[in-house]
């Protein structure tokens, strides 16, 4: 009873061996499917890259406080009085430098954007500006100066994240940029391990409050928790203090939500484009494989006449389709990986400001590309395969070769 597998193997191999004689229509199937997978790889690598950058930016044990009702830092409104009250609440970690009194790890900050010319691209885009005090570094241990020095209080100075310096023109060390009519000297560059923070520029919070006319109002507070579990304690303390009205976000949740909304459009575009292109590719595959089957009518009839059953014929057509789509899928994904993986790009992050990220073509993405290709190949091959099975031996033999 091992006739069937042997027949399947024989017919499939024969079919594949004759692929070269149908190279035109084979190439069409392959190109159609490679195109779909290439475009989808690009789109989802973009969404993946942005998502990874944003999601890696949030920590479990860090908290963002904004004014009540705010969902983004630029809209936050917190008075300095409120900030002082919050610094005394329970659950906040404290710095433990030997020989000093512990200070709560909390940074009350201003946030704005500056419209600056892009590097190597026309037009201007938003650079996120953050007004910080010395506490900003204690709250964010991932931020390290890579060049120059830290800000000095009260000076018209600015330090720039490395990603921001790559995105915008004129942020080199020693350059000055004009903000609200005041020149700020770039005194340092910093890294934040590829996180969203690296797309920002920082200046002294009190200088910024004056220049930006913010009075006694701040935008956002970042603080470190004693442990990730301390969030409930802190939230309760804020809720029960009538002087305070704040939205409290765990930093990781905050960035997850931001990545959700920032990648939403890309995902919608990706899925829509993918479905439409897939339909086109299935139609193309159907067309080509119907042609292939009709070109093989006589050959199939001969096989049936010498005793092959219908199953190996069906399988052989499906195998042809799946092999072509597998190659097409791999080709498309490989091309997408070659062109896009690691390519750095900017997109809109929070509040019309730019965030830098890199395309990420991951193994899962390549795998789903190839699976999609096989799915298209299966659908495109199924109907022609069934037609091949129905070819009548007598009429098939009579037809011209």
């Amino acid at each position: 009873m091992n006739m069937l597998p042997r027949q399947i193997l024989a017919v499939s191999l024969l079919n594949l061996a004759t692929l070269r004689s149908r190279s035109g229509s084979s190439a069409v199937v392959l190109t159609g499917i490679a195109g779909v997978v290439f475009v989808l790889t690009a789109l989802f690598a973009m969404a993946n890259g942005l998502r990874e950058t944003l999601q890696s930016s949030g920590e479990e044990d860090r908290v963002l406080l904004l004014g009540k009702g705010s969902r983004s830092e630029i809209n936050g409104s917190i008075s300095r009085d409120q900030a002082a009250i919050i610094a005394g609440l329970p659950g906040i970690a404290a710095s433990r430098l030997p020989g000093t009194t512990p200070v709560p790890l909390l940074s009350a900050e201003l946030y704005a954007t500056a419209n600056l010319p892009r590097r190597n691209q026309p037009g201007r885009a938003g650079l996120p500006l953050r007004g910080v005090g010395a506490a900003a570094f204690g709250v964010r241990p991932e931020v390290r100066m890579t060049n120059g020095r830290d800000l000095l209080p009260g000076r018209f100075e600015i330090i720039v994240g490395e990603a921001a310096a790559r995105m915008f023109a004129g942020l080199e060390m020693g350059a000055t940029i004009s903000l609200k009519g005041v020149d700020f000297l770039v005194v340092g560059h910093f890294t934040a391990g590829g996180r969203a923070t690296e797309s920002e520029a920082w200046l002294d919070v009190n200088v910024m409050a004056n220049v930006f006319k913010r009075g006694a109002w701040l935008n956002t507070i970042r603080l470190r928790l004693e442990s990730p579990e301390s969030l409930d304690m802190l939230t309760t303390a804020i809720m029960t203090d009538r002087r305070l009205a704040n939205s409290v976000f765990r930093e990781s949740d905050f960035y997850n939500e931001q990545s959700e909304s920032s990648t939403r459009l890309m995902t919608i575009v990706g899925v829509t484009v993918g479905i439409i292109m897939a339909i086109g590719a299935i139609a193309t595959a159907l067309n080509s494989l119907y042609s292939a089957v009709s070109a093989r009518t006589r050959e199939i009839a001969i096989l049936r006449a010498i005793g092959f059953s219908a199953t190996p014929i069906v399988v052989s057509v499906l195998v042809e389709s799946l092999v072509l789509s597998f190659i097409g899928g791999l080709l498309g994904a490989a091309l997408g990986w070659l062109v896009f993986d690691g390519l750095s790009m900017t997109s809109m992050g929070a509040a019309y400001s730019q965030v830098a990220f890199r395309f990420a073509v991951e193994p899962e993405l390549v795998l789903s590309g190839v699976l999609l290709a096989l799915f298209i190949g299966f659908l495109g091959g199924l109907l022609p395969a069934l037609r091949a099975a129905r070819i009548s031996v007598v009429e098939g033999l009579r037809s011209a070769a």
């Binding site: 035109g24 779909v36 809209n75 704005a112 930006f212 484009v273 439409i276 086109g280 193309t284 900017t346």
Partner: protein, 383 residues
């Protein structure tokens, strides 16, 4: 002999193949209809009323503010007919899931300058009289089931009020629009009340709107306005409403580039695939053309026939594709606010016509060459 009969006989010789080719063409043109208008968004998301209005924004940042005194200075610039202003109010309405723009505007100057907003005079009066007045666009009114007299509660974010409570407004009117550049989801509230009651930032506005005496001088007046505030703490960038909108779209910059790359890949793939399929079908039929030639048809006639058939086939796919894209764009605007203002205009149609011609031309190139060299007797022998 009727051309049409010959054409459709060729087209429906293999109905299955024609339908499938149509389907893959339709999918390509569907994508053109969806993606091309998004690309155009970066070029001409514009004001149909021409450049008789300018917007002055802070040069420093889209999210910064201007002192309201700038409006007085701008009113004095020659060629300026009227001045108004608008301020981003933000905040959260109900659960915050359906966000819509909220602007604080002065009643006496904003609406006269924007006649494309259709609002009853009763509503206009009420907006001017009642300090807590607000109006919303038809779409937002429909979505939330709002009617005149409703109280609207907005929880503030950027603009807390002096009592640190939620803002309360009374809905006095629902506006419609006479052109589709008006945001029918927006809400407008009374600037005087907002300015007095906000906890900080009194005297700051987001943008200053400028109405011009005539359409020809927009460029000069923009330059003059920006020069008045040069080297001050509040420098300005003055532009037409069209370019202003473009400034927002520019923030998506790289994504626009991305869409063009994708569109390119899609077009390349599908043009190649379709042209190949059509050419393949024609090759199979060389014997039939030999019959036509034997019957006395000219060489050129057969070539024209092939071209006409390819054109008809491509059109057969393009039309439904574009039609479906128009419907999808319309539906999509309900769910994706970013798509607002996109439609399939003359530029997209022109591009589609060019594309139809290019794909058809690519498809007939090879068959037409073969027809030129067609050896009638050899082909007839194959029959």
């Amino acid at each position: 002999m009727n051309w049409f009969v010959l054409l459709s006989a060729g087209l429906w010789r293999r109905p299955g193949r024609t339908l499938l080719t149509t389907l893959s063409l339709a999918s390509a043109f569907l994508l053109v209809g969806l993606l091309f208008p998004i690309l155009l968004l970066f070029e001409n998301r514009g004001d149909s009323t021409g450049i008789t209005r300018l917007i002055v924004q802070p040069r420093h940042s889209i999210t910064d503010f201007l002192p309201i005194n700038h409006a007085v200075t701008i009113q004095g610039v020659p060629g300026v007919r009227s001045v108004s202003h608008q301020t981003w109010f933000g905040g959260t309405f109900r659960d915050g899931t359906d966000s819509f723009a909220r602007w604080a505007v002065p009643a006496d100057s904003y609406f006269p300058m924007h006649p494309e907003m259709i609002l009853s005079s009763a509503a206009l009066d009420a907006f001017a009289r009642l300090r807590t007045a607000a109006i919303v666009g038809q779409k937002t009114a429909d979505r939330f089931g709002l009617k005149v007299g409703d109280r609207l509660t907005i929880v503030p974010d950027i603009w807390p009020n002096k009592e640190a409570t939620a803002w309360e407004f009374e809905l006095v009117g629902i506006f419609d629009a006479s052109d589709n550049n008006v945001d029918l989801t927006a809400m407008y509230l009374n600037h005087a009340y907002f300015d007095e009651y906000r906890a900080w930032g009194a005297g700051l506005v987001s943008y200053i709107n400028v109405g011009l005496e005539s359409g020809g001088s927009a460029g000069d007046i923009s330059t003059t306005i920006d020069a008045r505030f040069a080297n001050s703490a509040d420098e300005t960038t003055t532009s037409s409403e069209r370019d202003f909108a473009l400034g927002f779209a520019e923030q998506l910059g790289d994504i626009g580039l991305m869409i063009s790359v994708i569109l390119g890949a899609v077009l390349f793939t599908i043009a190649l695939v379709t042209a190949n399929t059509v050419a393949h079908g024609m090759r199979e039929r060389m014997a039939e053309f030999a019959v036509l030639r034997a019957m006395g048809f000219q060489k050129l006639t057969t070539q024209l026939l092939v071209t006409g058939e390819a054109l008809a086939l491509v059109l057969l796919g393009a039309l439904p594709g574009l039609l479906i894209s128009a419907v999808l764009v319309e539906l999509g605007q309900e769910y994706v606010p970013q798509l607002a203002g996109i439609d399939i205009g003359p530029q997209t149609l022109t591009a589609s016509v060019v594309l139809v011609l290019v794909v058809a031309l690519l498809a007939v190139l090879q068959p037409a060459l073969r027809l030129k060299r067609l050896h009638i007797v050899d082909e007839l022998r194959k029959l």
